[in-house]
Symmetry: C2
Subunit: 178 residues, 2 copies
DNA sequence: AGAATTACGGACCATGAGTCCAGATGACGC
DNA sequence: GCGTCATCTGGACTCATGGTCCGTAATTCT
């Protein structure tokens, strides 16, 4: 089912228009089964998302990786963000489906997870928890598909996007001043 | 009709659940009329938004106002953002209705308008047009209802939000470095 | 093998955006 | 004042979609 959903989402220009009926049909399964397994459309989307995000999670835990647990916070932060950028560039439809679907994005499990990670990393660069909280939201805001898409449409390349992201990080994560 | 829509939106905790039927009924008008006047749900929402935003627009054009056309860009920028913050704090439901309704927020007329304004102001503080474009998106990202709501829920007061916003501006709008 | 429990699928329901047309309302000429 | 024509209006209707429900099939247990 996850695979079917993923394929369908990737193959349309308007992921919001992919219905649960279609996904069920494509997965060769009844609608009831789909809902029993995932609870709701959001649940399904989250599950697809989680499965896609898994390699990234692994990479973050693998000691020795360029974004592994031992890397200094500042570098790791940049690394993670660039990885997320790549993820969004590689899975635009899926991300769109999740980010543009009305329901509270900030409550979604993967958002909370990434936010937490970023918050910790930012905090380690010398900011209070509160201020790191805010900064993490801002960094994630900078990565919204809508924004990225818009910038791409305006002619920015992947590399330029990466550079702009790094710039944002540097501006945003300096130590508190007051 | 605008007034009816506004009232209904303000009076519910889940603005997404306010239907066009309800609005039509509350306005004492047929659904057909509603759609003829605004084209679609989005159109109506935009219209309500625009009407609410009008005083703010006026203030921006009034010479002598603290955010008027003659104020130095850096100050004006902060002023405008604080005004927008106030607006969102004062109209949380309306803003939620518009920001959380799936359809491309960045294409909405008011978003484009504010973005343009911010971009110009940022550019005047010594950044290239491209970089100002990005910065403007980030600033608006910092003002998303979802984020603001979350921070409020975490216990931040209006004043703290204002201060955090100012901090973001200062971090974000310095001159380009590379 | 037969009973009991669980899982399945797709018909069914509820809701809400957007359409459409029969009739009301108003403008205009006589 | 009245008939005709054009325009506008309201709400019944269509259609799409998320989510539920239940008869039946599969599976497990004895």
């Amino acid at each position: 089912m996850l695979a079917a959903a993923e394929t369908l989402l990737a193959g349309t220009t308007s992921p919001a228009a992919v219905s649960m009926d279609e996904i069920a049909a494509a997965a060769g399964v009844g609608k009831g089964t789909l809902f029993r397994a995932f609870g709701s459309r959001d649940g399904l989307l989250d599950a697809v998302f989680a499965s896609r995000l898994d390699p990234l999670r692994q990479e973050l835990n693998r000691p020795g990786s360029p974004v592994g647990p031992d890397v200094p916070a500042a570098d790791r932060l940049v690394g993670v963000l660039l990885l997320l950028l790549d993820f969004k560039l590689d899975n635009p439809r899926l991300t769109t489906a999740r980010e543009m679907n009305g329901t509270a994005l900030l409550q979604a499990p993967h958002y909370r997870w990434v936010h937490r990670l970023l918050q910790d990393l930012v905090a380690k660069t010398g900011r209070t928890a509160d201020s790191a909280d805010v900064a993490a939201h801002l960094l994630l805001g900078a990565l919204r598909v809508e924004v990225i898409t818009e910038l791409q449409a305006a002619g920015m390349t992947r590399e330029q996007l990466g550079r702009y992201l790094e710039d944002v990080v540097h501006r945003l994560v300096g130590p508190d001043e007051h």
